[in-house]
Structures are given as C-alpha cells and as structure tokens.
C-alpha cells in the first residue's frame, strides 16, 4: 500500500479542488497530442488533428480531455487504494481501448507541465514531488491489469 504524508494528501486535495477542469482538461490532452504526436493513433475519429492549431481548437479533443481529467477524481477521493479503484479502468484500457500504457506516463508529464503553468511559483519542488508521486501511482494502477 502506498504511504502518504499529511503534506502529500493535503497537496493533492488542494490542487484538484482548485483545478479548472474545463481549462486544464483540454489543455492537457491537446498538449499531449502535439508534443507526442504518435498518441494521435487513438483518436482517428476525432477529425482534424493535422497541426497544433487544429488540435487545440478541436472540440472532441477538448471534451475528451475533460473526461480523462475527471477520471482522476476517483483516485483523489480514494488515495489509500488507487490500485483497486482503477482495476476496471485498467482492464478497459488494455482489453477494449488497447492503449499502450506508456501513454499514461506521457499524459502525466503533460499534466504536470500544465499544472505548473497554472500554479506558477506555488508549484514548489515539494508540491511537484507530491503531485508526481500521485500520478506515478495512478499510472502504475492503470497499467496493472495488462497482460
């Protein structure tokens, strides 16, 4: 089981309670599709992803970005058993969506960059450490049911 310090718990709750999902969700997914273009392979039916401007203006990308970000809510609410919380989602990503689990890490990196941009100097090294630890647990849990 993952051990969380009081600081880490408080940091994660604070970041997500203050997060503007409508802003961050689209920003994260569109950034991922631009910075790691091979991730576009999963969004063949999203229409125009031909360049950065198209990606950032694409409404399907924006909607899906919000969906994915809200997917983290369950982990935020169940920090003491993220592994069990994401068991079904892990199976889904493996068996139905066929997503390479390395993509979870890429998205997590983009989320860190976007949150850093929104928080500015409040995104201290300790806050970054807590945030990345949380995301690492999420990423690990989502990859756990792959076989």
């Amino acid at each position: 089981m993952v051990e969380w310090t009081d600081f880490e718990r408080a940091t994660i709750q604070s970041i997500f309670s203050k997060m503007d999902y409508d802003d961050v969700g689209p920003a994260v997914l569109s950034r991922c599709l631009v910075v790691y273009p091979w991730t576009q392979r999963y969004f063949g039916n999203f229409g125009n992803l031909y360049n950065a401007a198209a990606i950032q203006g694409n409404p399907m990308v924006a909607a899906h970005g919000k969906t994915v970000l809200h997917g983290l809510d369950r982990a935020v609410k169940n920090m003491d058993d993220i592994k069990a919380t994401y068991e079904e989602l892990s199976v889904l990503h493996s068996e139905k969506l066929h997503v390479d689990p390395d993509n979870f890490r890429l998205l997590a990196d983009c989320l860190t960059i976007v949150v850093a941009a929104r928080m500015g100097v409040d995104f201290t090294a300790d806050v970054q450490g807590a945030f990345q630890k949380f995301l690492a647990v999420v990423v690990s849990s989502l990859g756990r049911q792959y076989h």
């Binding site: 950034r31 950065a52 860190t112 928080m119 100097v121």
Partner: protein, 165 residues
C-alpha cells in the same frame, strides 16, 4: 504513421540504441528553440538553479551524484551554482544547434569518462527544466514550443551520451 515517429523510444533509452534514422530538428524548430532560449535568457540562472533543485527533491536518487557536496539543500549555494553551470551548457548547445554532437564533444567526453552520469538522468533533468520553464513562462511555453524544446533537450542528451560506449 511516418517511420520517424517510431524513433521516440530513443529519448527514453538516451544513447543505448543505435537509430536507423535520427530524430532531428527542422529549420523551423531550430528557430523556435533559439528564439525561446533568447527570450528566457534574462532568467536563465533562475531556471537552471530551480531545475536542479527540483531534480534533487523530486528524484532523490540523483543526489548520489553530489555526495561530495557538503550542502545538498535545494536552495543552498552548491545546488544553485551547479544549476547555473548546467544552464550555461544548454545555452552553449543552443549556439551549436546545427551540430550538437560535434559542438558538445568536450562535454560529451566529460560525461562519458569523468562524470559517468547514467543517461536516464538526462531525461528527468530535461523534464524538470521544462516544468520550470512552464512555471516561469506559462504563456510562452505553448505546446508548439514545448515539443521543439523537448526534442532539443533529447538531442542534447543524445550528444552528451555519444561517447559512453
């Protein structure tokens, strides 16, 4: 999917695989990188110091390379000074952007034969640098600039790993 996009694992292997085709920066991306680094140059010391401080805090295993420092606190003098040194190296790389392997030969030999930093650390330091850039230059660090800088840092890491084996 174009063949070149399968080269991305090279970023993660950092010099441990011989590519058939090498990822490289387009002319446009070189301009993006040079312009962006020029724009942030007034705070480059701050970026370097902060990035190294973060490396040590967020990835504590990296402290293994600095055991010879008396003071390993993230805001202490040795960390700040070394962060500035590293950033200076990056600016040198920007000036040699058309031939990173040739231009960074001395630094490459230093990292290969003297420092022997495991190449995985280039990747995580690159990430920390980009987090700090995103923090301090939120509006400027757009996805388009992010991808160019990410590629540039990966190529610098490759050049630094040139002589490892």
């Amino acid at each position: 999917i174009p063949f070149s996009s399968f080269i991305h694992p090279l970023n993660r292997l950092c010099g441990t695989a011989e590519p058939l085709a090498k990822m490289s920066l387009s002319a446009k991306e070189k301009v993006i990188v040079k312009d962006f680094f020029a724009k942030v140059s007034s705070r480059s010391d701050e970026v370097g110091a902060e990035a190294l401080a973060r490396l040590i805090v967020v990835y504590p295993q990296t402290k293994s390379y600095f055991a010879h420092w008396k003071d390993l606190s993230p805001n202490g003098a040795p960390v700040r000074k070394h962060g500035i040194t590293i950033m200076g190296g990056l600016y040198e790389a920007v000036s040699k952007i058309d031939d990173l392997a040739g231009g960074l030969l001395t630094l490459s030999e230093l990292h290969a034969f003297v420092l022997r930093v495991d190449p995985v650390n280039f990747k995580i330091l690159s990430h920390c640098i980009m987090v700090v850039l995103s923090m301090l230059f939120a509006e400027e660090f757009t996805p388009q600039i992010h991808v160019a800088v990410d590629k540039f840092l990966a190529l610098v890491a490759l050049a630094l790993s040139e002589k490892y084996r």
